[in-house]
């Protein structure tokens, strides 16, 4: 599904050069559910951003479904993100001015489809995360757990093969965290969605197939 080969990421400023990731080699198969763990600042989110094509590696290559994406331009990268990848963020990143259903529709705005089809898919995704009663609410009217469920609905509405979740339960209490984890496990088991999840919580990591551990930008497990 996704293959990282000798991937490094450096951040340069005028004075210092920081190595965020150092020579990472990682192969993630289709249908896997992987967690990425490590202390703060070890490069977990950077790794996720590289997998999600939101950032470019300083060295090495990233391939998605056997296709190297190194030379993709902005439009091609945007299309790959739109069609094959879904993102879930710790901060939810819902657009406060849009209702639940409008937020969930966002990925579909960048596809050729009718308004009716778009609305139908968004409602189905909302139903999938059991939030049908909140369709026309605005994010500020929802609890943290509900907001994260909306974010999951937004991530899966376009039926991507790969879900990248950056500490999806980090801002939630344990009960809500368990609910979100349940939804992710369900997506992985029933729909075969490949999931890469960054987490600090060993309890959540235990529920995944495999744990990748990072330390100071290096892969230690």
């Amino acid at each position: 599904m996704i293959h990282l080969q000798q991937v490094s990421k450096l951040y340069r400023t005028d004075r210092v050069e920081t190595t965020a990731l150092d020579n990472i080699n990682l192969e993630i198969g289709k249908g896997e559910f992987i967690s990425v763990m490590g202390p703060s600042g070890c490069g977990k989110s950077t790794l996720l951003n590289l997998m999600g094509l939101l950032d470019e590696p300083s060295a090495g290559s990233v391939a998605l479904d056997g296709q190297a994406i190194d030379r993709f331009g902005d439009r091609a990268l945007s299309r790959v993100r739109n069609e094959r990848i879904g993102f879930i963020f710790q901060q939810f990143h819902l657009v406060p001015d849009l209702s639940v259903v409008d937020n969930v529709e966002i990925p579909l705005l960048y596809r050729r489809m009718s308004n009716r089809e778009r609305r139908k898919a968004a409602l189905a995704a909302i139903d999938r995360v059991a939030l049908s009663s909140r369709t026309h609410h605005f994010p500020t009217q929802l609890s943290g757990g509900q907001q994260q469920r909306v974010a999951i609905a937004r991530a899966i509405v376009g039926r991507p093969g790969l879900l990248l979740a950056d500490e999806p339960t980090g801002n939630l209490d344990s009960q809500m965290g368990d609910e979100i984890m349940g939804i992710l496990e369900d997506l992985n088991q029933k729909e075969g969605t490949t999931i890469v999840m960054v987490t600090h919580d060993p309890r959540m990591a235990d529920k995944t197939h495999r744990v990748v551990r990072l330390f100071d930008g290096r892969q230690v497990q």
Binding site: G52, D74, R75, S78, N82, V95, D97, D102, I106, L109
Partner: protein
């Protein structure tokens, strides 16, 4: 997609109400001024009664005679027009040519009361080149002009002043010490129509002396009606070639060596009159058009900078949204489109406010009677210009902020940073 953009645009506007109010006020006032200016220009230059054929009409409104020590610029004289312009009637592209004087004040006394009227002397063709709206009677003819008959066409204001609004055809009117029999009454023509407006029109041949027949400079316009709009360039070129020929036959070749004039549209005629150096140009219209455009852009600059600033300051507010859109598949180009649409929505709301304000200002103009016989209106054409100006304004002020927003790195944007 557009619906989603519009929802966002309206929400974003309602987020910072004070800034939105300032923006809308700036845009509204700017567009109001531009709409009023457009309405004014439209009133002066667009095809309307009596210049209903303005799109295929040219005029020789100005003539400059230049010599080494002396330059004179004024309206062309009858002798010049008669010798060098009238023969152009034979060109297949020319339908007819009329001669008319500039409007001059004519004094009348009625029951001991002094009345000043704007009077033009015009030939019979004048009534066929232009299309006046006759309320009574009709125009005098070329035969009336040739025979020197003392007949007159008056406007409705003159009818009101002299005859208390009663039917005037057949009655006599005295102006400038001459008595004319009224043959027709036309609807008032605004003074802004500089080639045609007057209170009364009488035949050229009724002039008190025939000295005008010898003059190259002074008092007359020639109005040339082409058969088609497409013929205008050819007629202009022919006029220039005749002008070069006329230079060889100048009445005072020692004092004057060169002639400058043009067969101008109404717009070009105004440019020749008002632009510095316009009198010497073959086509001063292009420069006036550029000057008006520059003036318009300059006028839009301040609200544009204001809007650009507000939009830039909103980038930080919207960093997370931009990051999300990028993550879920919006390309830079798509984001530029979205932000431009939002900005155009804002300017269109401003345009609606501007339109309302412009209607009020024009109504006030009309009621004030500042410009006689003028009833400014916002017609479909002006509305279309206004819409075009608003859309242009929206794009103009939105491109840079939209480009900046679209260039945000998605990772930085998701962290809530604008750079």
């Amino acid at each position: 997609m557009i619906k989603n953009y519009l929802k966002i645009a309206l929400k974003v506007l309602s987020r910072r109400k004070f800034f939105t109010f300032i923006s809308l006020f700036g845009i509204g006032v700017t567009l109001m001024v531009l709409l009023v200016a457009t309405a004014l220009l439209d009133y002066v230059f667009a095809a309307r009664t009596p210049e209903v054929h303005a799109d295929r009409m040219l005029g020789v409104y100005r003539l400059t005679m230049q010599g080494p020590d002396d330059t004179e610029t004024t309206q062309p004289g009858y002798a010049f027009l008669d010798r060098w312009v009238r023969p152009m009637t034979k060109l297949p592209s020319v339908e007819r040519i009329a001669f008319v004087t500039e409007a001059q004040t004519a004094i009348s006394y009625l029951n001991g009361r002094k009345i000043e009227s704007a009077m033009r002397r015009a030939d019979g063709e004048f009534w066929r080149v232009l299309d006046f709206d006759f309320l009574e009677g009709g125009p005098y003819t070329a035969a009336d002009d040739e025979a020197g008959r003392f007949v007159a066409v008056i406007n409705e204001t003159t009818r009101e002043r002299f005859f208390g609004g009663q039917p005037a055809v057949g009655k006599t009117i005295e102006a400038d010490g001459q008595r004319f029999k009224v043959v027709g009454v036309v609807r008032d023509v605004p003074v802004l129509r500089y080639a045609s407006s007057a209170d009364l029109w009488v035949p050229v041949t009724t002039a008190k002396t025939s000295a005008y027949k010898e003059e190259w400079l002074g008092g007359f316009y020639a109005l040339i009606l082409a058969r088609n709009h497409a013929d205008l360039p050819q007629i202009k070129a022919e006029f220039q070639s005749r002008l070069r020929e006329a230079e060889k036959h100048l009445p005072d070749p020692k004092t004057f060596k060169r002639l400058y004039a043009g067969a101008d549209t109404l717009f070009e005629g105004a440019a020749r009159l008002f632009l510095p150096g316009g009198r010497l140009e073959e086509n001063p219209g292009a420069r006036l058009r550029a000057a008006l455009l520059a003036l318009m852009l300059g006028f839009m600059l301040l609200p544009t900078i204001n809007l650009v600033n507000i939009n830039l300051s909103r980038i930080l507010d919207r960093a997370s949204e931009i990051g999300v859109r990028r993550a879920f598949g919006a390309s830079s180009r798509t984001l530029v489109g979205q932000f431009l649409i939002e900005n155009v929505v804002l300017t269109l709301i401003g345009a609606a406010i501007g339109l309302g304000l412009a209607l009020g200002v024009l109504r006030a103009f009309n009621v004030s009677g500042l410009i006689p016989h003028t009833q400014f209106q916002l017609n479909f054409r002006i509305f279309f210009y206004g819409l075009a100006i608003a859309v242009f304004f929206g794009l103009f002020s939105g491109v840079y902020p939209a480009w900046r927003m679209s260039k945000l790195h998605p990772v930085q944007a998701l962290r809530g940073r604008s750079a």
